[in-house]
Point group: C2
Chain length 209, copies 2
């Protein structure tokens, strides 16, 4: 379905979700069309940047008119892969893991939580939002049986690489990583990191300037 899109920079890709979010806001306000100039004003980007970014993926606008809000949002949603469903597990069912399990933005992006895993016997057996916490030794079988595409690592730093190894061994190709550790995985496995403490340190830095 998708054409091959070579050489799109991560800078562009990381702006796509912001476009998607703002287009959703515009839709809620009942705005049906928008020019790159006005869209840029709202988002704090230049009109040029918006047109350049969008034209990496196709000509979604119309001269003299601008962009159709609803259509553009759908296009970007498809580019981001939000039209698909991703069967997901959480590894590490502590506070953060449980918070993520309850996180609503999660389902909105097409990620469906199928199971949670931990090594702590006190957590195993408990359910969070009707999703069971299982022993991590059952993980490999579960991944195969339930067709899991994505794993979320919410373990402490110490366990993270070991968990990643097990996930790779079980055939997982995409990891959302909350552990403060750069995971070592084969080239064909995608890792997207959320480094909370790094974000916090940047805040501390900015407070001292």
């Amino acid at each position: 379905m998708d054409r091959i899109r070579p050489n799109i920079s991560m800078a562009v890709i990381r702006r796509l979700p912001k476009y998607y979010r703002y287009l959703g806001d515009l839709m809620e306000k009942g705005i049906t069309r928008i020019s790159s100039k006005e869209f840029g004003r709202i988002m704090g980007f230049t009109a040029s940047q918006i047109r350049q970014d969008l034209n990496c993926f196709g000509g979604f606008g119309q001269q003299g008119y601008g962009y159709n809000v609803k259509e553009l949002r759908e296009e970007i949603g498809n580019i981001l892969g939000l039209n698909r469903r991703y069967n997901t597990i959480i590894v590490g069912a502590g506070n953060l893991g449980q918070a993520i399990a309850n996180y609503s933005g999660f389902a909105e992006a097409g990620f469906i939580l199928k199971g949670m895993f931990d090594i702590n016997p006190r957590l195993i057996g408990i359910s969070i939002r009707a999703v069971k916490i299982m022993d991590i030794d059952e993980m490999k079988g579960f991944i195969a049986r339930e067709n899991i595409n994505v794993a979320i690592i919410c373990t402490p730093k110490e366990g993270a690489q070991d968990v990643a190894n097990r996930l790779v061994d079980a055939g997982i190709k995409a990891i959302w990583n909350f552990a403060p550790e750069d995971l070592n995985v084969p080239d064909d496995v995608i890792v997207e990191n959320v480094y909370l403490s790094e974000s916090l340190m940047v805040l501390a830095y900015l407070m001292n300037q």
Copy 2:
């Protein structure tokens, strides 16, 4: 104490916590000195980039020797402001707020949780790690009384801007924002965002390439 450091790009600043983390790992392994070449190999950066980055802040190395791991880590810690303490509150005491309250990386960066606030009467009065959840109407007085420097917003998108307005009104100058919303605040207020769903959408994108 600090000299004025103009024009240091955010690209450089966002790499500092990673340097800090890797230097901590090296220390734990008992490594006392490192060259930019070897450090670059470990981190996946060029040696040039490391030397350029560090020289934004001062000449921490020594020709023919490299960098002293412990000293460099301390220097970067000071640059990041990790030698200070920041009195912090969490606004929004749902799952995410509670997970953040329990987050250990938090205290490691010098952030001390002093209070939590919510509008939900069922949560008000509960304590998380000996920190009380209070009514949001008590927030302004608490901020003044307890000398709060930083607020963490863990509310849903809808409440976030209103909370930000109250925080600004109460004199808060630094916000760590987890709500999926770009906050409108005066220029002298620092906002560091953690956009979870944007990170997740990037993961979805990468899975479809």
